[in-house]
C-alpha cells in the first residue's frame, strides 16, 4: 500500500513536468498551428539556464523558477518574430522542420559551450529529504513538483477561463480562422502566446534542474514523450494536455513498478489505444467535414 502511494506520487510528480510542457505545446499548436519540435530543447535551455545562473551569479533555485521562464519567454518571442512567423502561411510541415532544425542547433550550441557530460546543480535547501506523513515517507521534492505543477496548471487555467485574453486564446486554439472572422486580430496574440508556451517548457526545465541530469540532450527523449502526451490528450486541447500529462506520468510509474520490461512501451501502447478508439485524443474534437 505504502509502495503504491509512493508510485502514485512519483507518477504525478513526473506527470507534472509533462503537463506543464505539454500545456505550452498545446497552446502554441492551438493558436499558431505550429507543432513546435523545439519544445524539448527549450525545456533543456530552462535547466541549463538555471545551472548557469546558479554558477555565474549564484541565483537561487526559487529565484530561477521566476527568472528563467521570463528569459525563455524572450527566447520564444525572438524565435517567433525572427523565424516562425515567416512560415505561418505555408504548410505546417515547414514550421515543424524549422523547429526541428532549431532544436538541433540549440542542442549543439549548448554542447559546444557547456560540454556533453552535464552541468552540476546544487540541491536547493528545503527540497531535500522526506516528508513524514504517518508511516509514509514521501520525498519532499516529489511532493513539491506535484503541488507546484498543479498550482501552475491551476493558474494557467484561471488565466484561460477568467480573462478576456484567455477567452481569445481558447477560441483561437479551437479554431483560429473562425476567430479571425469574428473580428479578433489573432495575429496580435501569436507572439506572446508562443513566448508563453516556450516559457512553460523553460519552467519545466528549471524544475528538473536539481534532480535530473542537465545535459544538452536532456530534451531529446522528453520531447518524444511530450508528443505522445498531446496526442493522447488531443492535439490542441488545453485540458487534454494537462490531464494526459499527469496520466502519462502515472502510467509510466505504474509500468515501471509492475511491468518494468514494458515500462517505456506502455506509454506508446496507451497512445496507440487512444488513437485507435478516439482518433482525436481524449479531449480532442473530431474535425467536421
Amino acid at each position: 500500500m505504502s509502495a503504491f502511494v509512493q508510485y502514485t506520487l512519483q507518477g504525478l510528480a513526473a506527470g507534472g513536468f509533462y503537463a506543464l510542457a505539454a500545456l505550452g505545446l498545446a497552446v502554441i499548436f492551438g493558436v499558431l498551428g505550429v507543432v513546435n519540435f523545439s519544445h524539448g530543447a527549450c525545456y533543456m535551455l530552462g535547466a541549463v539556464a538555471a545551472a548557469v545562473l546558479l554558477d555565474v551569479v549564484g541565483m537561487h533555485f526559487w529565484v530561477a523558477l521566476v527568472v528563467v521562464p521570463i528569459l525563455l519567454f524572450v527566447v520564444g518571442v525572438l524565435m517567433e518574430r525572427l523565424l516562425v512567423r515567416w512560415l505561418l502561411r505555408l504548410d505546417p510541415l515547414y514550421n515543424f522542420l524549422l523547429t526541428f532544425g532549431l532544436s538541433l542547433i540549440l542542442v549543439d550550441v549548448v554542447k559546444r559551450r557547456y560540454g556533453v557530460s552535464g552541468l552540476p546543480y546544487e540541491r536547493p535547501a528545503g527540497l531535500d529529504g522526506q516528508l513524514h506523513i504517518g508511516a509514509l515517507g514521501l520525498s519532499t521534492y516529489q511532493v513539491f513538483a506535484c503541488l507546484f505543477s498543479f498550482l501552475i496548471c491551476g493558474l494557467v487555467w484561471l488565466l484561460l477561463t477568467r480573462t478576456r485574453v484567455g477567452m481569445i486564446v481558447r477560441a483561437s486554439t479551437e479554431d483560429a480562422e473562425r476567430t479571425r472572422a469574428l473580428g479578433i486580430n489573432v495575429g496580435r496574440w501569436v507572439t506572446p502566446v508562443f513566448g508563453f508556451g516556450i516559457a512553460l517548457a523553460g519552467l519545466a526545465g528549471v524544475m528538473a534542474a536539481p534532480f535530473r541530469a542537465i545535459t544538452a540532450d536532456m530534451g531529446s527523449n522528453f520531447v518524444i514523450i511530450l508528443f505522445a502526451v498531446v496526442v493522447i490528450g488531443g492535439l490542441g486541447s488545453i485540458l487534454g494536455a494537462v490531464v494526459a500529462g499527469f496520466l502519462v506520468g502515472l502510467v509510466e510509474a505504474y509500468g515501471q513498478a509492475y511491468a518494468p520490461a514494458f515500462a517505456q512501451v506502455v506509454i506508446f501502447v496507451l497512445m496507440a489505444g487512444v488513437v485507435l478508439f478516439r482518433p482525436a485524443g481524449l479531449f480532442g474534437r473530431e474535425e467536421t467535414a
Binding site: M167, I168, R170, A171, T173, E174, D175, E177, R178, T179, R180, A181, L182, G183, I184, N185, V186, G187, I238, R285, T288
Partner: protein
C-alpha cells in the same frame, strides 16, 4: 440606388488550386435587404461567403462593402468593418460558455445589441448562459451564432444555410428572426437550399449553378417558379 448598396461583388472568380469554383460572379445587396443565394451543393455558395469574409483568398475580382473596396483586408478587419459571418457549422466554440461565445467578438457598431437585448430576444440562451457552447441543441446553436453577430452590430449578415438540419418549428423561428433583423435595418445575404424557406424571408434571389450566377429574380417571380426551381435543385 448606388449609394445604398451594402455589398457589391463584381466579376468575382475563385479557385481551389487549379479548380475554378466561381466564375465572374456579380451581385449586390442593398441596405435593409434580405438576398438569398440559391444553388445545389457544390455550386460555390459557401466559397462565395468565405471570399467575402476574406477567408478564401485565391480570388480575382472586387468585393465592395459599404462603398469600400475590401481588397486584401484580413478577415478580422472585415468583421470589424461590419461583416457578420454565421458559418454553416454555426461556429460555436465548444470550450467557451454560451455567454463567452456572445462576448468574444468585439462590438463594432453602436447599434449592436446589448447582452440584455440578446437574452430578451432569445430567452433560451439566457437560461443556458453558463453551459458550454456545444451542449446546446442545433437550433439553439443557430440562434447563438446569429445573436453573436447581432451583438457585434454587424451591418451585413452572411448566413450560411441557417435552416439546415433543423426541425420545421425551429426553421420558422429562424425565419422570424431574419425578418426582425431586416426590420432593424440590417442587410442579410443568405445561402440556402431550402427554396420554401428562402421565399418566406427574402426580397431577391440569385441562382448559382456551377460557380456562375445564372438568374436573378425578385421574390414574386421566385415564388411563381418555385416548383421549377425545386426540380432544378433536385429536391
Amino acid at each position: 440606388m448606388l449609394e445604398n448598396r451594402v455589398l457589391e461583388i463584381d466579376g468575382l472568380s475563385a479557385w481551389y488550386g487549379e479548380a475554378r469554383v466561381l466564375t465572374d460572379v456579380s451581385l449586390s445587396v442593398h441596405e435593409g435587404e434580405v438576398v438569398t443565394l440559391v444553388g445545389r451543393n457544390g455550386a460555390g455558395k459557401t466559397t462565395l461567403l468565405r471570399s467575402v469574409m476574406g477567408l478564401h483568398r485565391q480570388i480575382e475580382g472586387t468585393v465592395r462593402f459599404a462603398g469600400t473596396e475590401l481588397g486584401r483586408r484580413s478577415p478580422d478587419a472585415r468583421a470589424r468593418a461590419g461583416l457578420g459571418w454565421v458559418p454553416d457549422d454555426r461556429g460555436i466554440y465548444a470550450s467557451l460558455t454560451v455567454s463567452e461565445n456572445l462576448l468574444l467578438p468585439p462590438v463594432v457598431h453602436p447599434d449592436g445589441w446589448s447582452l440584455e437585448q440578446v437574452y430578451q430576444a432569445f430567452p433560451v440562451l439566457a437560461d443556458r448562459r453558463s453551459s458550454m457552447g456545444t451542449q446546446l441543441s442545433g437550433g439553439e446553436q443557430q440562434m447563438l451564432a446569429i445573436a453573436r453577430v447581432l451583438r457585434m452590430g454587424s451591418r451585413l449578415l452572411l448566413l450560411d444555410e441557417p435552416s439546415e438540419g433543423l426541425a420545421p418549428v425551429i426553421v420558422q423561428r429562424i425565419g422570424a428572426i431574419i425578418r426582425e433583423i431586416k426590420a432593424a435595418g440590417v442587410a442579410v445575404l443568405l445561402v440556402e437550399q431550402n427554396v420554401k424557406f428562402a421565399a418566406t424571408v427574402a426580397d431577391r434571389h440569385y441562382l448559382l449553378a456551377q460557380g456562375r450566377v445564372v438568374e436573378s429574380l425578385d421574390n414574386d417571380s421566385f415564388q411563381a417558379r418555385e416548383s421549377e426551381l425545386l426540380t432544378y435543385l433536385g429536391m
